[in-house]
């Protein structure tokens, strides 16, 4: 099994989790409801923790230690999809992003629980419960806000319309796709996207929302190959601000 293909897969997953976890942690102390503030923060911690687990795998494959990978790489070395680096906006966007991304993530790890790369399969089985909570949370909120006041429905719909092009970037196909599929490491982005769409439709149908036609959506790609929006670099600079005071120091 080609290390390059495997590492590329690991980087994109870990980078997604780190950047989204980082974004979601910005809500801590400023959420719309105390109990929700707490819940959203837990999920952000889960994401950062999951990224740590995967950077640890990368380290075992010969790459730098997790702090080095997370806090010293430049924006064009990150392989997260553009969706996760976007600023938080209002809670409607953050919730919709949480819904779209975590639905995909749960399915991705479901597929990975059968991975021929044993460490990844084990990790997938281990975090199944965490991802289950994330989707339970997202679905409960989308159902609630998607069928409630005129304003909440309008806001969620607008965020959905806005986010979908970026969500397509989750499934940006890798040059090593066939190898990953054939070696049994991962069933591939196409499979993931198909299942994701079915799940998203299922939830949206339970609300007053409408899922735009994906064929009419212009996907925003490039994140997987280091082409990012103007938002990632400032995010990384902020994230590494203290670390960079002395990268060799122990904090």
């Amino acid at each position: 099994m080609n290390d390059i293909a495997l590492k590329e897969l690991l980087y994109k997953i870990a980078d997604d989790q780190l950047i989204l976890g980082h974004r979601n942690s910005e809500w801590t102390g400023m959420g719309p409801l105390l109990e929700e503030d707490i819940a959203f923060s837990s999920m952000a911690q889960d994401k950062v923790g999951q990224s740590l687990a995967i950077y640890t795998l990368l380290h075992s494959l010969g790459d730098g230690d997790p702090d080095t990978l997370a806090f010293t790489r430049g924006g064009n070395q990150f392989q997260n999809c553009v969706l996760v680096e976007l600023p938080n906006g209002e809670y409607d966007f953050s919730l919709v992003r949480h819904f779209l991304f975590d639905t995909a993530e749960a399915i991705r790890f479901d597929l990975l629980s059968n991975s021929s790369y044993e460490p990844l399969a084990q990790l997938a089985k281990k975090i199944r419960g965490e991802l289950r909570y994330h989707t339970l949370h997202a679905n409960t909120w989308i159902r609630q806000l998607g069928s409630s006041t005129e304003e909440s429905i309008a806001r969620i719909q607008a965020s959905l319309n806005f986010s979908l092009p970026f969500a397509m970037g989750i499934f940006e196909v890798s040059p090593h796709e066939n190898e990953l599929i054939e070696s049994g490491v991962f069933a591939g982005e196409k499979e993931l996207k198909q299942r994701w769409l079915a799940k998203v439709e299922e939830i949206i149908h339970q609300t007053d929302l409408r899922l735009p036609d994906l064929n009419a959506v212009e996907p925003v790609l490039g994140g997987r190959v280091g082409k990012h929006s103007e938002h990632l670099q400032p995010l990384l600079e902020e994230m590494s601000e203290v670390f960079r005071i002395d990268p060799t120091a122990e904090w």
Partner: protein, 217 residues
């Protein structure tokens, strides 16, 4: 805003309501009581507190992180506070069950009720068991006969089982990774060794730059 906090600088500015504008009515949510089992499967559910939420399902989702993000947990459930029947609280060693009069056999469909006891002021209500009864007062009588341990029970709560949002069997893995989240635990922050090494090296240097331990004046 011009703040040291980068998050705060990204916040949209807001217009604080001018006195003439009517203030919006205060949003107020329902209240839900939360019961948790920690740490082991065999231990009874114990009352932990409340969450505010718009409905039972949301209460369950929110309670999970509000009350069970630490230690070990296997299950959790919530119920609307208005669905909890509450007995008066007794004084001293008097057991509340002494004040419950037996009632003649009640006709009607029997439902399941959960019973909770408070054994001492200051503690939490703990699940005592389940009874079959036709209504709340009948459940209290049944509980008197089934769970009265003779020891002081100063308060009883009664909840109809079907009003509770339990943890589903396949939701148990929600808490799978909880024991591994050491970063939330004091035990992950043992600085003792580093501190000892530092104090040792301070002692070894001839130049004492720090303050001495005590400055009697």
């Amino acid at each position: 805003m011009n703040s040291l906090d980068p998050r705060v600088n990204r916040l949209p500015s807001t217009r604080y309501p001018v006195p003439n504008e009517p203030t919006a009515p205060l949003d107020q949510f329902g209240t839900f009581e939360v019961f948790v089992v920690q740490p082991k499967e065999e231990k009874p559910f114990q009352h932990e507190g409340i969450v505010h939420a718009p409905n039972l399902e949301m209460a369950y989702v929110l309670a999970k992180e509000a009350f069970t993000r630490r230690f070990v947990c296997v299950s959790l459930y919530v119920v609307d506070t208005t669905n909890v029947a509450v007995s008066p609280m007794t004084e001293g060693d008097v057991s509340i069950y002494q004040q419950i009069e037996d009632r003649p056999g009640q006709a009607g469909e029997k439902l399941s009720y959960e019973i909770y006891h408070l054994t001492k002021r200051g503690k939490q209500h703990v699940h005592a068991g389940t009874v079959q009864a036709v209504n709340g007062p009948d459940a209290m009588v049944k509980a008197k006969h089934q769970f009265n341990s003779g020891k002081g029970i100063c308060s009883v709560w009664v909840i109809r089982t079907k009003d509770i949002r339990f943890t589903l069997p396949d939701e148990k893995d929600l808490w799978n990774t909880l024991p591994e989240k050491k970063f939330r635990d004091a035990s992950a922050y043992k600085g003792g060794d580093k501190l000892s090494m530092f104090l040792q090296s301070k002692q070894n240097t001839s130049d004492h730059s720090g303050h001495s331990d005590n400055a009697d004046q």
